[in-house]
């Protein structure tokens, strides 16, 4: 039971990082990306590559993964600067599909469909962290740091600019906001932090393959953010916890076919998304219609 809980909390914190970073571009900048798992994967592969071939120290793996994630995110930023809404959804969907092909085909780095095994544990100043009871501090710590940084950003003038762009791009520009630059910075920041989740995920399982970074994962992350509450601070974390606890809840219900837990989980959150949009578009944590936004 203790092992189960440790594992659950570690997973929730990793997925919360993914949710928080997606929420940053989706809820505040209005960039609805279906390609978030791509940068999760980029971080995992980049961090693993460094850990296996260069050095497993987190002072090597994390910065490199973040840098690679940030750099590649420019591919996502490019269409996001040109178009929004339905066009961008299509572009990110395409990017996700393309990335899966590359992850499966670039065998020398990603190990192809079979993936990579024997990924070294996290090395923090010479101390190897692999026991879940220790690893949990790393993932929760990382989540707290990322949450803190993003929270500060959102409540700064930069966050205001982001929300202004989401509400009216032309008005934001008319008040001196360099819209392309601001959008690019937000995508870069989001992707760099997403890569951190990838590094943690890879070293926790010491095994990765393309299946963790496919469209299903992007959809799952998006569902977490939406169900929790888009544009809220606690929403993505609540959403992550809820959707990750769901499979075990389902397994307690004996009358459901246990071999189909994955499908039932997806059906539940699919339905959840649709129903929330009809009855409560702000998500579980989201505000109701009349209250105010922004505290600063």
């Amino acid at each position: 039971m203790e092992a189960y809980l440790l594992n659950l909390v570690i997973l929730i914190s990793i997925y919360s990082i993914l949710g928080v970073t997606l929420n940053f571009i989706m809820g505040y900048a209005g960039i609805y990306s279906l390609a978030h798992a791509v940068f999760f994967g980029v971080g995992a592969y980049a961090g693993t590559f460094m850990a296996m071939h260069v050095n497993a120290s987190i002072f090597v793996t994390l910065p490199v993964a973040m840098a690679v994630g940030a750099l590649l995110s420019l591919i996502l930023a490019l269409p996001a600067l040109r178009v929004r809404g339905e066009y961008f959804v299509a572009a990110s969907l395409g990017l996700q599909v393309l990335a899966v092909t590359i992850f499966s085909e670039w065998k020398s780095v990603t190990g192809g469909i079979g993936g990579l095994i024997g990924i070294p544990p996290l090395d923090i100043v010479g101390y190897e962290v692999f026991k879940p009871s220790q690893f949990i501090f790393v993932t929760v710590g990382a989540l707290i740091i990322i949450l803190f940084v993003i929270n500060r950003l959102v409540h700064s003038s930069f966050g205001r600019s982001l929300r202004a762009i989401r509400d009216s791009e032309s008005a934001a520009a008319a008040f001196g906001k360099n819209v392309p630059l601001i959008k690019t910075i937000s995508v870069v920041i989001s992707s760099a932090f997403t890569a951190v989740a990838g590094v943690l995920y890879a070293s926790y399982f010491s095994f990765i393959n393309v299946e963790s970074f496919m469209l299903d994962t992007s959809v799952l992350i998006m569902a977490m953010v939406i169900i929790g509450g888009t544009g809220t601070q606690a929403g993505p974390i609540v959403g992550a916890a809820l959707l990750l606890v769901l499979p075990s809840l389902i397994s307690y219900l004996d009358f459901l076919p246990q071999t189909e837990i994955g499908s039932i989980q997806q059906i539940i959150y699919g339905l959840g998304m649709a129903l929330l949009m009809i009855y409560r578009p702000g998500g579980i944590v989201g505000r109701k219609k009349q209250s105010e936004t922004g505290k600063e």
């Binding site: 339905e86 395409g94 393309l98 998006m222 569902a223 189909e260 949009m277």
Partner: protein
């Protein structure tokens, strides 16, 4: 000879892409509903036909059931999901998420019933015939193209001559026109969903016999439909039709240069180029944002 072979395959694929994409484009153009569950309509029609097929029913009953299923699904979704959302402000995003959620549900329900692997509709029509040396074409290729031609012919007449068709076309040109027509907007959107869903059916049925079916292929269908709609120009049925054909051809001809796992990448590359260089598409209105 390989090029000719790939051109014919490409036209076959393109014809099916065009049918599916035009269905989506028509709905999106005239109602502004980002019907992401269009891929789910495809899955439902395809698997209903597959089910009728393995249960021993013939082509016609199968096609009728598939069509009925597609229409009912489209109309129910419109009535019980999109209409309530649009009643209070319903942004692009809320509609998209709800539609997306329904797509996930359909994919998994179908997966639980029929399994998540590939299934194929067995028919002698998919056996290739050697037309000339090195050129193999299955009768289904000609059927696909014929189907597309017939359906587009009927659609064209409908859009050009019927009152409802004219209304749909006008709405695609200018979404603000809803009130100008004496027609009930609810009825117009129901019509758009009916026609859009019907257009998916031939593509769904034929895909079952050619490439095979899989519950997760709804996303692929959506990527193609979105790509064709955007490349063709949002609101332009003709543009979407041409773009669908072109995407099919491009995917197929790309095999001259790359392995088959990269074909989706070709679609994506074309879409990406258009979004960056010409977001209004081939025949779209110039206002893209």
């Amino acid at each position: 000879m390989l090029a000719l072979q790939l051109t014919i395959t490409g036209l076959q694929t393109g014809a099916l892409y065009a049918l599916t994409a035009v269905g989506f484009s028509l709905i999106f153009g005239s109602t502004r509903i980002f019907h992401f569950a269009h891929g789910a309509t495809f899955i439902i029609a395809a698997y209903l036909f597959y089910y009728m097929n393995i249960s021993g029913y013939g082509l016609i009953p199968g096609a009728l059931v598939a069509t009925a299923g597609a229409i009912i699904f489209g109309l129910l979704l419109n009535r019980f999901v999109y209409v309530p959302i649009q009643r209070d402000e319903g942004s692009f995003f809320t509609v998209f998420v709800a539609s997306f959620g329904i797509g996930i549900v359909v994919q998994n329900v179908v997966g639980m019933i029929f399994g998540r692997g590939y299934v194929t509709v067995q028919t002698p029509l998919s056996f290739s015939v050697e037309l000339m040396e090195g050129l193999y074409v299955a009768p289904l290729a000609w059927i696909s193209m014929l189907c597309a031609a017939v359906f587009f012919g009927i659609l064209w007449c409908f859009l050009k001559y019927s009152q409802m068709g004219k209304a749909l076309r006008a709405l695609s040109d200018n979404p603000e026109l809803v009130r100008v027509f004496g027609l009930n907007p609810r009825f117009i959107s129901a019509c758009a969903f009916t026609i859009g869903s019907i257009l998916v059916v031939p593509a769904a049925i034929i895909s079952g016999a050619t490439s095979g079916l899989n519950p997760a292929m709804g996303h692929h269908v959506m990527l193609i439909s979105l790509a064709a709609t955007i490349v063709g120009g949002i609101g332009s049925v003709t543009g979407t039709l041409l773009a669908g054909l072109a995407l099919g051809l491009a995917e197929s001809l790309a095999l001259l240069y790359v392995d088959s796992q990269w074909t989706e990448a070709v679609t994506f590359a074309i879409l990406f180029l258009f979004i960056i260089i010409r977001p209004s598409g081939l025949l779209g209105r110039s206002t893209a944002h």
